[in-house]
């Protein structure tokens, strides 16, 4: 029954290749998008760390974007 399912009535190569290509391509784009996002988040935090403490505290409190980035970075570490 499993072999029959894999053979797909003799068209297994075409059916499985289609689903395989879609899966691999989607995973690749997801990996690239996530990697780039994490890279920029890390760089942003690094830059934030280099600021004077007073300035850093002020903008961390006032900016939702910075709060969100710091929250996601804390989750990672």
């Amino acid at each position: 029954m499993i072999i029959e399912f894999l053979q797909m009535g003799g068209y297994g190569f075409f059916v499985w290749a289609s689903f395989f290509i879609v899966t691999v391509s989607c995973l690749f784009l997801y990996y690239r998008a996530r990697k780039t996002l994490k890279k920029y988040e890390k760089e942003f935090v690094k830059e934030l760390e280099s600021l004077p403490i007073k300035h850093k505290k002020r903008i961390t409190k006032s900016s939702k974007v910075i709060g969100s980035i710091l929250a996601s970075q804390n989750k990672l570490s």
Binding site: M8, F14, A33, E43
Partner: protein, 234 residues
């Protein structure tokens, strides 16, 4: 307008990413089960019809994203809305991926049904042209850094590219093509049975959720890039 400030937008983006992550795999597994196991075999094409469940949603997504990109580019050119530029930049790679996937899976479907991997017929050629427009869009983002010229180039590409969209849609009616006419009609009766239509829409939903997830991640990256450039001025 404060509702659309980057600070508020990023809060919604994070919430949406969490929501999509929580439902995506359930819908994908249900969609794949129907597409590969429960949906019936076509009386003429046999099991090759299962390729439809990835081919058709990919093509629809590729075409829809280009329409969205083109309209956004034109609106950005006219009204200079920065958010639209970020949306276009984040959507273009997703549209390219799905257009390429529709061409590749179409080719894999074409070989057993038509006996050839590729034919320069109207539908296939117009989809190929759509892929070329996407590539031009992405190249423009990469190589034209001048903020004055880029919106003009994107608008020109949008106007040229949007002409191709009705050609894709009606190519199977205007010309005699290898590609079959549309089986699913939004106005009128579809010639596809519900046992195949349900898995098709489930797979479309799963792929749309995937697109939304990638778009939100890319959009968030673009916001961080802007904030990083302006960090010292905050």
């Amino acid at each position: 307008m404060d509702l659309f400030s980057f600070g508020n937008v990023i809060v919604y983006v994070n919430k949406l990413i969490k929501f999509i992550n929580s439902i995506f795999f359930v819908i994908l597994i249900i969609g794949l089960s129907f597409a590969l196991i429960f949906s019936p075999v076509d009386y003429l094409q046999g099991d090759t019809v299962r390729i439809m469940y990835v081919h058709v949603p990919s093509a629809w997504i590729g075409i829809s994203i280009f329409s969205l990109i083109a309209i956004s580019s034109i609106l950005n050119f006219v009204f200079k809305i920065k958010n639209l530029f970020l949306i276009v930049k984040s959507l273009a790679p997703i549209g390219l991926l799905f257009t390429c996937l529709s061409i590749v899976t179409g080719s894999l479907w074409g070989k057993p049904t038509w006996g050839t991997w590729w034919a320069w017929d109207a539908r296939l050629t117009s989809m190929f042209m759509l892929m070329v427009f996407y590539i031009l869009f992405i190249f423009s983002f990469k190589y034209f850094k001048n903020k004055e010229y880029l919106p003009k180039i994107l608008t020109a590409l949008s106007i040229l590219g949007i002409i191709n969209i009705p050609i894709i849609k009606y190519s199977v009616e205007w010309w005699s093509t290898l590609h079959q006419p549309a089986s699913i009609k939004f106005t009128g009766t579809s010639s596809i049975h519900s046992s195949m239509l349900i898995p098709l829409f489930l797979m479309l939903l799963a792929l749309l959720l995937y697109c939304a997830l990638i778009f939100l991640m890319k959009y968030k990256t673009e916001i961080i890039k802007i904030k990083k450039q302006n960090i010292k001025r905050l």
